[in-house]
């Protein structure tokens, strides 16, 4: 069997990613049509609107057209790169995604990165000291936090660390991404960091366990491998065996997990975004579902799918570089 040649391998992966994306884009149209409700009525709820206004809104939305016509318009528009206009925000979907993307990547990206680093580090240490008190405490704590409801943990952090308990003052903001009225690059950056702490801590607390457990089990597996015994027999210091020989091999599954999780970064974290009033894509998607704001739902769905497909593609392409064994027949 020949090793996958560079361009052919790349081409096959890219084509399969594109086919997947087209399938998702087409399926997305029908998926959200299942949602009940009349968007024109939902967006005008509580307003003194008459039948003519409702009819005009349906006409503007295009929901007064037969489904086939709507599908045709959707396909033409989507493949031209136009994601349409949101029903409720009267703004281009692409602009809405862009305006919420930075907030989501800032929060979820940071939290994923910290979770991965913290989980991998603690997982490796736990494996090296398998069965020790530290191993048991770290593993149990991670699993406990993993099973805590995110919503509850977030609110507890707000009550204890944002509002303060007793004479202890609150240290962090209760929500939002920045304080109104703050100007200047450095003050805004510091203010945004200050706002990031609690939502990020919440996400890390409930998320790092998956990395800890995977790295721990992989390190344990690698530590019993023959090449480790050989390395030790050659007199290589224990720290070098662990850092240079065991860890790189043990981190391969974790690297895959990180890349796949990064694909999901853009879909945000609906619960954390809600508790901490974070203006990200997760809450935008939730708000779109309640209408239902079909163009926004379609746009976000395609965007989320494209991100996951793209990151999977990156993982596919990176894996042979990370692990030389994959390149061999």
């Amino acid at each position: 069997m020949r090793p996958p040649s560079g361009l052919g391998y790349l081409g096959r992966k890219v084509v399969s990613a594109l086919v997947g994306l087209c399938g998702v884009a087409l399926a997305g149209f029908f998926l959200f049509r299942i949602l009940p409700g009349d968007p024109a009525r939902t967006v005008t709820r509580g307003r003194p609107v008459d039948a003519q206004q409702l009819a005009q809104l349906r006409h503007r939305f295009g929901t007064d057209q037969p489904l086939v016509v709507q599908f045709g318009a959707y396909v033409t528009r989507t493949f031209r790169g136009d994601l349409g206009r949101s029903y409720q925000y009267s703004a281009p979907v692409s602009a809405l995604i862009v305006s919420h993307l930075a907030a989501t990547v800032y929060l979820v990206g940071t939290a994923t990165l910290i979770s991965a680093c913290l989980g991998s580090w603690l997982g490796a240490r736990a494996a090296w000291r398998r069965g020790s008190l530290g191993d048991r405490v770290h593993s149990s704590l991670a699993l406990t936090l993993w099973s805590v409801p995110t919503f509850w943990l977030g609110l507890m952090l707000i009550v204890v660390l944002a509002v303060g308990v007793g004479s202890v003052p609150g240290l962090f903001p209760t929500g939002g991404m920045r304080l109104p009225g703050v100007t200047g690059f450095v003050p805004v950056a510091l203010d945004m960091l200050h706002h990031l702490v609690l939502p990020c801590a919440t996400m890390v607390a409930v998320g790092y366990a998956q990395y800890l457990l995977i790295v721990r089990s992989c390190v344990l597996e690698e530590m019993s491998a023959d090449y480790v015994t050989t390395a030790r027999a050659k007199g290589i210091p224990e720290a070098t065996v662990r850092w240079r020989h065991v860890l790189p091999n043990a981190l391969l599954p974790a690297a895959t997990l990180i890349l796949v999780n990064f694909g999901g970064v853009v879909s945000g974290a609906v619960v954390v975004e809600s508790v901490f009033s974070w203006p990200g894509l997760g809450s935008l998607f939730y708000e779109a579902l309640t209408v239902p704001d079909l163009p926004l739902l379609h746009g976000l769905f395609v965007f989320f799918a494209a991100s996951v497909i793209l990151l999977n593609l990156v993982a596919d392409l990176l894996y042979p570089m990370l692990d030389p064994r994959v390149r061999r027949p």
Binding site: A51, G170, G176, P180, G181, H194, W278
Partner: protein, 602 residues
């Protein structure tokens, strides 16, 4: 060690940035101190658009009330129409021509004079451009023409008399700014170029989507400038988090509190709570049998409900006081007439002893008389011999529905009616309602000072044109007598006589028992007493601050003088110090580990 020194330097910078005791006005960093002239209102509302021609949600319409003056306003004391952009008005003898005199000397925030032509241009745009009619089209649907013969006179000609001419809640925009946006009004968000030109008590100066709206005091406002120089609406997605922000002092006002949140705040010494009668009413709708405007019937509503004795039996079987006590925690008022008592002029109550009361015995007597006898299993049988069963629908998004449903089901079960409860998503419920496939349904509406809209949704004309089509009405009720009264009040320009007609409409609706008002929830809100010294309520003396019809609360809000206003918030400094200590400790540990590893390697 270099990395360690860098970290220490960064930590020092951070601490210096937030050091207590710095005067906020001199600080180059974030304004840590809460400035005494900044008012921050927490809101769980969302902004669909800041374009007043498109905005439908409550929050942007409230902001537009602060940014653009309307033709008239509602008095803070009792909601009667008072001058705003218009100083006076008159109607012709045939009731078809209204002439408004526009306030002299008013300017837009860019210095251009406000004239009647701005009002005429705004109204004409809504009348002629379907997209511009998105939000406020219903207000001008009866207009034949709007003109401005001179700068201070506005003339509106009507197709039919319209008693709601002093309740035109339409933001008037500057023609010289908006003219260039008219062609593509549906694509203009009015949220990219600040300050936004307006003529209300505040000027829209910034907006961060999903985060906050910044308004600055309009120093040239004709009624006088607001006392707070800046007003922020901070958006919270979670009401509990907003309450915590109030406790901490990050925000100064929260509204739409639940009973539990309101009670939990009673011991906070800096928090002042306010409980007001509300503008909304909560109903149990009974399906009269769905029909289109042509009279064609559709849906599968239980035909038993067309018998007034059955509807009245249901009404007698329900104890609204228990719902007020259990669901609202006591923060509400038992329902009677259709319009809430906060609108005292139009509210109607049955005479003492004449209204429905909780009386299961009478309910059973009515059902017996109607021919719905109990079967051997205790469940009543329809005249056709089938078990008498009704479906009860509610919304998941309205928490009260899920709480009230078990009570109503148990009360009806006690008089021999089986109830199948279904609390579903808004979209699904709308679909069920559109095709008329329901028996009982919880509903709630917010009332305006002019009740025309909530009265109109119960007329025959707002039923769907064809079976199953979406419609702006409420629940298919169609009573020709009610419709005649509705038409009568719409052309009655004498407020006292009009109120009398409106009360007769409510009396008829109450007797028919299709639309049963169970209660009027209170408005529960709270604010920081150490920030806000005073503000106007609406109505007075026991009204609300948030959700007013007008701008009275935020315009009148006066700050409390605080001698220590320059002091920084120690919490942030402590937080940053804690963060810095953590960073330094982490760096020390990391450096030591590297040294150990290096020694290992050696």
């Amino acid at each position: 060690m270099l990395a360690l020194r860098h970290l220490a330097a960064a930590a020092t910078l951070l601490i210096a940035q937030f050091a207590p005791g710095r005067d906020a006005s001199e600080a180059s960093g974030p304004v840590i101190a809460r400035q005494s002239d900044v008012l921050t209102v927490a809101t769980t509302g969302t902004i669909d658009s800041l374009n007043p021609f498109l905005a439908q949600r409550v929050l942007p319409t409230e902001i537009h009330r602060l940014v653009y003056d309307f033709l008239t306003n509602y008095d803070a004391a009792d909601y009667h129409p008072v001058p705003a952009l218009a100083t006076s008005w008159s109607a012709s003898a045939d009731k078809l021509v209204w002439t408004f005199t526009i306030r002299p000397g008013m300017t837009w925030s860019d210095g251009v004079k406000v004239t009647a032509a701005d009002v005429a241009w705004t109204y004409n745009l809504i009348m002629t451009n379907a997209d511009a009619a998105t939000a406020n089209g219903s207000f001008v649907a009866n207009f034949k023409s709007v003109s401005a013969p001179n700068d201070s006179t506005l003339v509106i000609r009507l197709a039919r008399p319209q008693a709601t001419m002093l309740a035109l809640d339409i933001p008037v925009v500057p023609r010289h700014v908006w003219r260039s946006h008219a062609a593509k009004i549906a694509e203009f968000g009015n949220d990219t170029s600040f300050p936004v030109v307006g003529n209300g008590p505040f000027i829209l100066t910034d907006y961060k989507q999903g985060q906050y709206v910044e308004l600055s005091a309009n120093e040239n406002y004709w009624r006088g400038p607001p006392r707070f120089s800046r007003l922020y609406f901070r958006q919270y997605k979670d009401a509990d988090a907003a309450v915590q922000a109030l406790r901490k002092g990050e925000v100064d006002f929260v509204s739409r509190l639940t009973a539990a949140q309101f009670d939990a705040l009673q011991h906070d010494r800096h928090v002042v709570r306010n409980r007001s009668a509300g503008k909304s009413f909560y109903t149990l709708q009974i399906n009269p049998g769905a029909s289109a405007t042509s009279g064609q019937r559709f849906g599968d509503g239980n035909p038993a409900l067309r018998d007034i004795r059955v509807r009245q039996a249901i009404r007698y079987a329900i104890d609204p006081q228990t719902l007020v006590d259990k669901t609202l925690g006591g923060y509400g008022q038992v329902g009677e007439g259709y319009l809430p008592p906060i609108f005292a002029a139009d509210h109607w109550n049955p005479a003492p002893g004449q209204g429905y009361r909780y009386d299961p015995v009478k309910a059973e007597q009515l059902l017996d008389a109607a021919g719905y006898r109990r079967g051997p299993d205790g469940t009543r049988r329809t005249p056709g011999g089938q078990p008498f069963s009704l479906r009860l629908n509610g919304l998941t998004q309205r928490a009260a529905d899920a709480l009230n449903a078990p009570y109503v089901a148990a009360w009806l079960k006690a008089i021999g009616i089986n109830v199948i409860t279904s609390i579903v998503d808004e979209g699904r419920l709308a679909d069920v309602e559109a095709v008329g496939n329901f028996d009982l349904m919880f509903d709630a509406w917010l009332t305006n000072p002019d009740p025309d809209y909530v009265l109109a949704i119960q007329t025959c004309a707002v039923r769907p044109v064809t079976p199953g089509a979406a419609f702006p009405g409420d629940a298919f009720v169609c009573d020709p007598v009610y419709d005649r009264l509705y038409a009568q009040q719409l052309v009655e320009y004498n407020p006292t006589v009009r109120s009398q007609v409106i009360q007769r409409m409510q009396q008829r609706m109450y007797a028919d028992a299709y639309v049963n008002v169970l209660y009027y929830p209170n408005v529960l809100e709270a604010y920081r007493g150490d920030v806000i010294g005073s503000m106007l309520k609406q109505p007075q003396p026991n009204g609300m601050y948030s959700g007013q019809d007008g701008y009275w609360s935020w315009w009148s809000a006066a700050p409390v003088a605080r001698p220590d206003e320059a002091a920084s918030n120690p919490a942030i400094a402590v937080g940053v110090v804690a963060g810095a200590v953590f960073l330094v400790t982490f760096a020390v540990v990391a450096v030591r580990r590297r040294r150990t590893s290096a020694e290992d390697r050696e």
